[in-house]
Amino acid sequence: MHFLKLILRNTLRHKLRTGLTILGIIVAIVAFGLLRTVVDAWYSGAEGSSETRLVTRNAISLVFHLPIKYQDRIKKLRGVTEVTHASWFGGVYITEKNFFPQFAIDAKTYFDVYSEYIIPPKELTAFTTDRKGCVIGRKLADVYGLKIGDTVPIRGTIYPGTWKFNVRAIYDGAEAKTDTSQFFFHWDYLNESRKRVIARSARTTDWVGVYAINISEPSRASEISGEVDKLFKNSLAETRTETEKAFQLGFVSMTEAIVVAIRIVSYVVILIILAVMANTMAMTARERTSEYATLKALGFSHLFISGLIYGESMIIAFLGTLIGILLTFPVAAMFSAKVGTLFPVFGVSLETIYMQAIVALLIGITAAVIPAFRSAQVPIVEGLRSIG
């Protein structure tokens, strides 16, 4: 009890210094949490992918498309339960800042394959029966204030012109990690419009971006992937099939340098605050050399002295971390609102909170190691002579 009392009162002895150190830890913990959340958001696509889904794309590059006729052939393979397709539209909603992915999809099959997108049946029917209809995610609706019945103009960057879509359905995610920032519309609408504009151009119509394949057994993913690719070997458009997770990670790997940089920065932030904290504890211990020597003279052990320093360090680290963790949530929410739909899934994970807590524990302990060791080692006579 007295031990804790002494630690607490020592902690509050230099209120400004303790306050500034705690503030530093708060900033570091929030920054660390935010950066970790950004990294998590980067991987959210891969994390949210299904084990029973494969993605088939053109073997040369994603830029090249695949014929629509592949859909029926893939569906006939043993173990394939459903096949759908999606094509990247790449349009702009009002300004370039309003980024969100738009896909031209097979309205009949897409939401069977992507069952994690929850759409009320009436809205789904309204979408499938309206050629210019679109389905938007809840996050998208919230960010841009869109609602059922609204008309959304999208300026095409790949497909010229301004395309107008009617919001017929808003989907929710089955899980928190489900991306609800996407925009889907009829591939038929895109394909037929293209046919009208570029008559008889077989190379730009009746083609799709990727196929998404639902399989019955995840254990056969590799086997079925091989079978799909074998089907189209030596064809005009050879395929490359992989699990959805591998497909998503392929995108992440393109920007891996950024992810690595963010990770490094998150650790550098912690190193900086560790140095600040260690300096605070070193100053504190140096100022109290005479008091520690007195305690030792009275018969208190080295362990007691070390305990006082470790205790103070842990309290400062604990307070900073507690406030830092609590502040991470509103700061992450603000950040998410600021970046709009750039990160489809942006939330502070439990793992991030654990990491923040572990980091705080390490800061608290590490910052006290040298001051505690030195204070315990200073001879009593020398300590008594020192001026605090």
Binding site: H2, K5, L6, R9, N10, T294, A297, L298, G299, H302
Partner: protein, 230 residues
């Protein structure tokens, strides 16, 4: 510990030196003397004569280079750091020139500190602390922090802290060195009472001949060597 007819401190051929860079500076040279139990002794001498070093050795917060140093029959030079800490807690009460109170603890809590190393209950500790503070005339200052007390009052708290665990020896290093004459007189009176009424052996280092007169025995140190004077 021994009785009043025996020497509570037995020192024979004691030497102590400090290293200053490459140099070895002798501080105490071949010191031999005994302090009888219940004695009030003043160690005097000019700065650097080694009187504080001798006091520190007797109090077990420093170790001699050679010689015999027995306090209460225990050869404290042979004790480990841990054993010495326990020994000090049980046998030595410290009074410092600058009081060395914990600034974040009240007078009551400062006096209570040495008792935290004993198995006494809170109630027992409370009774003892209150009694000690009454003895030094600070019953109305128990909840005051050191910064709220005068120098003389702080030194009285330090004295209460020194004798609270009932040690046999009180070591006082310039206990009146930082006080005005009136406060110094009060402190010396308390020390005198502790010696006479509670039979504490007191070893006091002082520059002040007036303070030294309170002691029953005065010994002078000069360049690390001991002289005798009464």
């Amino acid at each position: 510990m021994g009785n009043s007819s025996e020497a509570i401190v037995h020192i024979k051929h004691l030497t102590k030196s400090y290293r200053r860079g490459e140099q070895t500076v002798p501080v105490l040279t071949d010191i031999t003397f005994d302090i009888p139990t219940g004695e009030f002794i003043a160690l005097m001498g000019p700065s650097g004569s080694g009187k504080s070093t001798l006091l520190n050795l007797i109090a077990g917060i420093d170790k001699p280079d050679s010689g015999i140093l027995k306090v209460g029959g225990t050869d404290i030079a042979l004790l480990s750091e841990g054993e010495l800490a326990d020994w000090r807690a049980a046998n030595i009460g410290f009074i410092f020139q600058f009081y060395n109170l914990m600034p974040v603890l009240t007078a009551f809590e400062n006096v209570e500190l040495p008792l935290l190393l004993t198995p006494l209950s809170f109630k027992e500790r409370q009774e003892r602390v209150e009694l000690a503070l009454v003895m030094v005339g600070l019953s109305d200052r128990m909840e005051h922090y050191p910064s709220e007390l005068s120098g003389g009052q702080q030194q009285r708290v330090a004295i209460a802290r020194a004798f609270i665990s009932d040690p046999v020896i009180l070591v006082a290093d310039e206990p009146t060195g930082d006080l005005d004459r009136t406060s110094a007189e009060e402190i010396l009176a308390i020390l005198d009472r502790l010696n006479k009424e509670m039979e504490k052996t007191i070893i006091m280092v002082t520059h002040d001949p007036h303070a030294a007169k309170t002691a029953h025995l005065i010994r002078h140190l000069e360049k690390g060597e001991l002289d005798v004077e009464n």
